[in-house]
Symmetry: C2
């Protein structure tokens, strides 16, 4: 993304701060800061805080990062503190200079660590600290073309890995072996990293929706839940397939068919104006009608952007209407404790008049 993009986003954010009747947004390292500046680093124990008021944009930054921030971002108002300074003092001064000492409402990063919110609270004792999501979440909800390009590209790379993994019989390997193999292939496909810990849930392990991988050996006939994604140019992918090498166990064919139908029904429900819960409902109805309602243990999906989990959440409760540019996962599953799990997942973008799947590797269980 170029400086102009970041400058536009900062201005949009400032406008929303003013309209939202807040005095400032305060961010720290993470996807919100990346979205506004391009700076992409993990949170650390040092105070690195962006203060955004309606007409100012100031960064409190440890000396260690100052050159990097100057080189990599469009920010120019930097307040640098060194390892021998007390950063809380820098925060207090910044708050004073920005006229925020008597701030009434300040929006802080959802993920800001308690040690930093505590220091903000000390510097702005009368402020109500609410969450920056009310501004940043709205900004980030609709992806622009540059973001969609990146999401399409990393989805295509992940699809290619999905197909290659399907072709290579992993029976006899452990889940961990296969996870490493997938991660190597993702890197070879151009991904800088995985977007979350690779899930290889074979046999009964697949019945735990958030099992990652362990030393269980994959046997012929095991259903294997493969849920993974790469990250490229800052954007993640996320897709799930459930394959069987060999003959599946009793009942598996039926469950897989139901989950695929549920996933298809949910994807078909996607278009602008539809509430998120209708997408969840479409999947849940198919599974419930087949008698597995209580074995679908999670929501149908989550938004995907700079974060692999972000709004909009596709739950039974979410009334939010879908809009063009929203991107989220559609991933119904059925989990039979002690036996196996089945999940099928694609990322989908809401288009002008419907939807577009970002993933298109084979969804069949047969390999």
């Amino acid at each position: 993304m170029d400086d102009a993009t970041y400058e536009r986003r900062v201005r949009d954010c400032q406008r929303r701060v003013a309209n939202g009747d807040a005095d400032a947004v305060v961010l720290f390292p993470g996807s919100n800061l990346t979205y506004l500046t391009g700076f992409d680093d993990d949170p650390g124990e040092r105070h690195l805080l962006l203060f955004l008021t309606t007409d100012d944009c100031t960064l409190v930054v440890p000396e260690l990062y100052a050159d990097q921030l100057r080189a990599e971002t469009h920010l120019d108002d930097l307040r640098v503190w060194g390892d021998d300074d007390d950063p809380r003092e820098t925060v207090r001064e910044t708050v004073g200079d920005l006229g925020l000492r008597d701030a009434g409402r300040v929006l802080v990063d959802e993920r800001m660590w308690a040690r930093f919110t505590r220091d903000l609270r000390a510097a702005m004792p009368d402020a109500t600290l609410d969450l920056a999501g009310e501004v940043l979440g709205e900004l980030r909800l609709r992806k622009d073309d540059a973001e969609l390009d990146r999401l399409r590209r990393v989805a295509a790379a992940t699809d290619a890995v999905s197909e290659a993994v399907r072709e290579a019989d992993p029976t006899g390997d452990t889940e961990r072996d296969l996870a490493r193999n997938i991660e190597r292939r993702l890197r070879e496909a151009g991904c800088a990293a995985t977007s979350f810990e690779t899930i290889v849930g074979s046999g009964p392990n697949g019945a735990h929706p958030h099992h990652t991988h362990d030393d269980r050996r994959i046997e012929r006939g095991d259903p294997v839940v493969l849920d993974f994604g790469g990250r490229m140019d800052g954007y993640p992918s996320d897709q799930t397939r459930t394959h069987v090498w060999g003959d599946p166990p009793d009942g598996f064919r039926e469950v897989h068919r139901v989950v695929r139908e549920a996933q298809q029904a949910a994807v078909e429900a996607i278009e602008p104006g539809v509430p998120a819960r209708a997408v969840d409902r479409a999947a849940r109805d198919v599974i419930a009608n087949a008698g597995y309602g209580d074995r679908f243990l999670h929501r149908t999906g989550h938004g995907v952007g700079l974060d692999v989990h972000e709004p909009p959440y596709i739950t039974s409760e979410n009334d939010r209407q879908l809009e063009k540019g929203m991107v989220f996962s559609v991933e119904p599953g059925v989990y039979l404790k002690g036996r196996f799990g089945v999940r099928v997942e694609d990322l989908v973008v809401v288009t002008e008049d419907g939807h577009e799947r970002l993933n298109d590797s084979p969804r069949d269980w047969r390999v």
Copy 2:
């Protein structure tokens, strides 16, 4: 670690809560929770909160994780909420049942996200939220034998990789190639992951202390700062060497000698009873006397345990006296903008009567 270890730690923590005049500690996924329960997962957007009062230990947990938590930890008081519940309601009920509604002082995880501290604040409107570090930080500061075993093991594995990397001439490769190579070797050495993003700072890139790696090609005669570590059984390593393949540039030999002397002086200063700042001072004096005082841009070290950055911090300000079982890095550096950087780092444990280096791969720049 066995259940008895975790139960002992929980009791220690409860005792400190009582002695510290607090009503409760509230944790969420991260190293504090791992320390007390063994549960090791990244924070997520779902409410997963451990409430620890002087006589109770209750976990608010999303349904998705409930079975895993029951299987993997000694916790038995679980309050499970499903994707269709409002977890804030579960938090409110838990706070009520634990008698915390009128709590005066509650210690929350340093890294707890603002979205969760906000919900705690709503459920305990009169409580002052302070940081759990005053209890957990003290508990975790001195490593027990089981922890030291793990730290020694992962340091030895990282040392072996360091030696192997030294033997293999990387000139002509990019920094990124070498970083991938190091990460592959760490995995082959038995590490489950890296403990932070691998730093390969060649030539002028080495002058940025927190440069990670990019597509710059390593040339003969480039000083290369190699700062990396693996993670094994939950514990990280962290070591830095600065090597040159070929003839180093003007001035490099002298700077490298100064940094090694500084590192040696700092390590020799380590023994129980000495304030942390004396270790920083020992390194800083050597570098300042050689005329590079203003090119040593950071503190001398940081504690290492479940977190790769944790107390004690080895800064010019920290009066904390060293105690047996503390583990921290000693990593002075000199950074010459536009030219090169030099850093040498080992992990060191404070022993009964002195210190023990956990790393011992060659520190010389010659390969």
